[in-house]
């Protein structure tokens, strides 16, 4: 006799970052279908879905609605850090857990969130460490005007200064704004060695298109001289950007190769989230009320790869570059444990050179 366990889904299907939400949602739904079709499983997952439509003020009320009106205690969802921070007080109050499947800026370890994608010691810092000797230490920093962009650029500034480099400019755009002319002018005027792009959605696409146009008229701004770096761009947004993405260098735990099961790291992480959760629930008969701390304090929990202290997971450090609409692998730094506060030994020990795979 299979138990049915409700599982919340909280992804925006429209708005500035709908593509990422769609990729995560596809990964989660796919995992639900796989689990429900698996005769060995003792649980059936019943998705309970709410759509905040990219409106930041709808996340907390919809999260509360799931926890209040349905038996679901686990929610896979949220793309922006802003929305994640909005729902944490609601999760705390309602005893819920958010399974968060996108990269973020670190400095958080909520008891009510499981972090299944990379944080800065797994994306930004290895990416910069690889970039400095390859392209140089003079950077231009961009970002969307909220916590992700601010914190990524703060960390980048520290890392660049520590390496004896220079930050030539730092500029932000409101979510959804495509007013990139000023950034492009500043890049042209300062001619950096690289650009760190922590813009999201249409702002990012507009910037990449304008920068590609600049590169066509001036060779100093082509990917071989001054590449754009990103820690949040994956395959799921490449079709929106088109040829302008060519040359972009991204860090992430997964890049899609021919024949791979998932279209992007977002899809892979959300899929992995649901499978991991299902494993934990299999062994917890009272899964409706069991909180994540007790689920992790079981043999299955210890095997889950989720750190009981930080709720972070080890992620592979990969660096890849867009070529003809797909990512080509440049470096493989291997698996690295999540270190959200950068207090672990990984950040203080001498960094070893990343291994070349191509």
């Amino acid at each position: 006799m299979r138990r049915t366990v409700a599982l919340g889904l909280l992804y925006s299907r429209s708005g500035a970052y709908a593509r990422i939400g769609a990729a995560c949602r596809a990964g989660a739904l796919n995992a639900i279908a796989q689990i429900n079709a698996d005769p060995v499983r003792s649980i059936t997952l019943a998705p309970v879905e709410r759509d905040p439509e990219g409106n930041i003020d709808r996340y907390a009320p919809l999260c509360e609605e799931i926890l209040r009106d349905t038996p679901a205690r686990h929610i896979v969802g949220c793309v922006t850090s802003w929305s994640r921070k909005e729902v944490i007080p609601t999760l705390e109050k309602g005893g819920g857990t958010l399974w968060y499947a996108v990269p973020y800026e670190g400095f958080e370890a909520s008891d009510h969130v499981v972090y299944l994608h990379s944080c800065p010691n797994q994306h930004l810092l290895p990416l910069l460490d690889w970039t400095f000797p390859t392209f140089g230490r003079r950077g231009y920093l961009t970002g969307s005007n909220y916590i992700w962009g601010w914190e990524m650029n703060r960390l980048a500034r520290d890392r660049i200064h520590a390496a004896g480099g220079t930050v030539l400019g730092e500029r932000y755009l409101p979510l959804g704004s495509v007013d990139v002319a000023r950034m492009i002018e500043e890049v042209r005027a300062t001619a950096p060695d690289f650009i760190l792009n922590s813009l999201i959605g249409p702002s990012s696409y507009a910037f990449l298109r304008a920068y590609a146009a600049l590169g066509e008229s001036d060779a100093r701004f082509r990917a071989d001289r001054c590449p754009v770096l990103s820690c949040n761009l994956t395959e799921c947004e490449l079709p929106d950007i088109g040829p302008a993405a060519d040359g972009l260098i991204a860090a992430g735990p997964y890049f899609c190769a021919n024949g791979d099961a998932f279209g992007s790291s977002h899809e892979a992480a959300a899929n992995h989230a649901v499978h991991t959760l299902a494993d934990l629930l299999e062994d917890a008969p009272d899964s409706a009320t069991t909180n994540i701390a007790s689920l992790l304090d079981t043999p299955t929990g210890h095997r889950s790869g989720i750190d009981a202290k930080t709720h972070h997971t080890a992620q592979r450090v990969l660096i890849a570059q867009v070529k003809d609409g797909a990512f080509a692998m440049r470096y493989d730094g291997g698996l690295r444990a999540g270190d959200p506060y950068l207090t672990g030994p990984a950040d203080t020990s001498p960094r070893t050179a990343l291994r070349v795979v191509s």
Partner: protein, 201 residues
Amino acid sequence: MTGPVRIADLGGARAIILHRPHVVVAALTRQLQAVGLRVDAVWPELPAEALAADFIFFDADMGFDEQFPWDRGAAPMPLIALIGSEAPGRVEWALATGANAQILKPVGDSGVYSALLIARHGFEARQALAAEAADLRRRLGERQTVVRAVIQLIDTTGSEEAAYAALRAMAMEARIGLEEAAARVLSRGPVPSPRTKGGAA
């Protein structure tokens, strides 16, 4: 003490929670361990090894002066008050104890990381200001020495202005403070001045 907040060196740092066994201690311990600190909870007295702790969280509700093995307000590390009752008397006591930051009870899912950074920042700012004040006080006490040295140097330099300039030049040359240079002038005693030499004697 403005500019970027220092986030380094928290990994492996030692925190002591001075609070009776309570759910507050569990919530604080979880957050501290997630940041990467080592945590011990004690009550009612701080053990000797508390002197080596990097941070101390203390209960502002039930706390009292005798718990701390140092003079009131002279803790050698940043202190964070755990405040349940916001009664002015308890806030006053927490401040007198030397709280550099506070966390309100009940303790939930967050708050510890910012309290650590704010407490350390405030503690270091207070230490730096105290050192500066002590130095200024010392220099203030040396005013008499400087005045006496200048008076003595007038004999050889001819004017008060020139004497002061000579004293400053000596200090700069020897890379010492004006007060120390003045003390050296006085210790070697008055040099016979040309005026005295060419005088009636």
